[in-house]
């Protein structure tokens, strides 16, 4: 692992006080983000991906409670200690966010050029005219054709793909070091998705920013990410490089996710799914939260939570299957094929 991460998340817990009780949305999440890399956080709905990103932006709802020992270290300070005014100078400036739905995330009553210029006026303290000039450059940079003619357009005059380009331009306006993309292509159709992803990769190389990419779409992860963290029920269950997660997955939940992704040799009518639903985080289950849905669950899974087992220097998985006392299980055929491919990649013979 690289030595000098730009962002260190340590023991992050986020609880929400609701009428029904305390929802433990994030339960002890730790990860690092290196400069210039793309970290994908993958998981199904309710796994805590979005709460993680909102916490990184200081945008959690008022009923969120973050315990004292949670730390978000960015530039030698713990972001969780910041006051609201200090957060404002971080948001959109050092850490920016790309939102999910371009149809609703732009203000319908403000000109798009102005919406892009806003972070510049706020953080660079420049005049409106200068900010609009820069907004025009940004619009060109994200591939808006004839940007000069469209700087005074309103959002309703643009298509979804164009609007998402504007949302990307807003995020990039103040040259942030970290870009958080919360399912930035989920609301777009597939061809537009590819365009936006290509754009983000290109812009990342130009600006050397780091990206935290939140998604439930593993297909998108493969093309975008350097490293992947798989989240389940408010925890990271496995993390590693993109190749390690895709070809040498160790956690049964990761197997399930990969298995439910159709591949070219998927037969018609055999779409796989992970059975069951994620646990209720009002009262998280004892032991491994995934045990109830896991056909490979061991007896210990319902009693004790698995620690992270080291697979390689960059690859860790929290599953008792990696304990030396655990019985050897045979993963799904799809995963076996992936393992075989992994061994080939490692320059070894398939067994």
């Amino acid at each position: 692992m690289m030595s000098n991460p730009i962002l260190k998340v340590e023991n992050l817990h986020v609880n929400f006080n609701t009428y029904a009780g305390t929802v433990q949305a994030i339960r002890d999440v730790s990860f690092d983000l290196n400069k210039g890399e793309t970290l994908a956080i993958v998981g199904e709905s309710g796994s805590g991906k979005s709460v993680t990103t909102k916490t990184l932006m200081g945008l959690n709802a008022k009923n969120a409670v973050i315990p004292e020992n949670s730390r978000l270290i960015f530039k030698d300070r713990n972001l969780l200690d910041l006051k609201e005014e200090e957060w404002q100078s971080v948001r959109g400036n050092e850490i920016a966010m790309i939102f999910q739905d371009p149809m609703t995330s732009l203000d319908p009553t403000m000109k798009i050029g102005m919406q892009i210029a806003e972070p510049l006026i706020k953080h660079r303290h420049i005049k409106k005219e200068a900010a609009l000039t820069r907004a025009l450059e940004l619009m060109k940079g994200v591939g808006i054709p004839n940007a000069e003619e469209h700087i005074n357009d309103y959002p309703h005059q643009w298509s979804g793909g164009m609007r998402q380009r504007a949302v990307v331009a807003i995020a990039l306006a103040a040259d942030p070091e970290i870009l958080i993309a919360d399912e930035p292509t989920t609301a777009l159709d597939v061809t537009i998705q590819a365009q936006i992803l290509t754009l983000m990769k290109k812009l990342q190389q130009e600006t050397e920013s780091s990206i935290i990419f939140i998604t439930h779409d593993l297909g998108v992860v493969a093309g975008m990410a350097d490293r992947v963290a798989v989240m389940y029920a408010g925890k990271i269950v496995e993390y590693g490089t993109v190749d390690e997660i895709f070809f040498n997955p160790q956690h049964p939940y990761t197997w399930g996710l990969l298995n439910s992704m159709p591949t070219t040799d998927t037969q018609v009518g055999t779409l796989e799914a992970i059975p069951g639903t994620p646990p209720d985080l009002l009262e998280p289950p004892k032991g491994d939260a995934f045990a109830a849905r896991n056909v490979y669950a061991l007896g210990i899974d319902s009693k004790q939570e698995p620690p992270f087992f080291k697979v390689s220097e960059t690859h860790f998985a929290a599953t008792w299957l990696l304990d030396e006392r655990a019985p050897k299980v045979i993963p799904p055929v799809q995963i076996q094929k992936r393992w075989a491919h992994w061994l080939e990649m490692q320059g070894q013979e398939a067994y």
Binding site: R91, F99, T104, T109, I170, A171, A174
Partner: protein, 305 residues
Amino acid sequence: MWKYILKRLVLMVFTLFLVITATFFLMQIMPGTPFNNPKLTPQALAQLKTTYGLDLPLWQQYLSYLVGAVHGDFGTSFQYQNQSVSMLIGQRLPVSAHLGAQALVVGIIAGLIMGAVSARNKNNKIDGTLGILSTLGISVPSFILGIVFVYLFGFKWPIFPVSGWGDSFSQTILPTLALAASPAAITTRFVRSEMIESLSSDYVQLAKAKGLSDKEIVNKHAYRNSMIPVLTLVGPMAAGLLTGSTLIEQIFSIPGIGQQFVTSIPSKDFPVIMGTTIVYAAMLMVMILITDILTAIIDPRVRLQ
């Protein structure tokens, strides 16, 4: 834009024609006659009817009213002899409109501020207090408020004059406040709910993610978007306020048009009923046109066509 406004004005004339026609014939259904003084002899009654043209067949009366209306002659009041309706309205409407406009401005500004404050303090004590105030403002009739104001600020602590019109600005303060309470309360409630919706929208989340402060978000994004639905409320509210309030004018001895609206009906003062109805209808239509234009200015998605 201008073409659209012209089109709307033409439509308005047509609507006015319908209003005139409907009101004219509906008035005839009312029982009794305008001249119900028991001392009148049958001859004198017939004489009066001839003078005012009420002995003619209905269609002739209707046609002559229309012809007169087109020429700006709305007839003569039966109640106030020799007072033309145009004169009557021309003297009294400006007084009511002045009072109504003051109340409208005060009410809307107060509503915009209290609504936004309420929304930003959602579900805490400030919101609760404003909620109670706005419930009171909607449910307490303006004339009760007027009487309370007269007692408090005219009698207990005599700060403001409690009656009259046209001598000083201070005379207008109490009636303005009494009239403004209800629009202020309605606007507060409306702005609050629109603002809450706007503040939870994705574009406000994005504005937060840009690093804007709550104040900047409210002023630059939330207000504009909350105003769009609020405007639809303002048109009818303005028409109601500008055409006078019978009870408030009565309490504060203000020579407005509000009273004419009401007294003309039981006394069957046909020309005045017609005149005031036309004024109200025209005012309502103009206000709705103005709010439509304002909506188009604020909301770029709305096109006037």
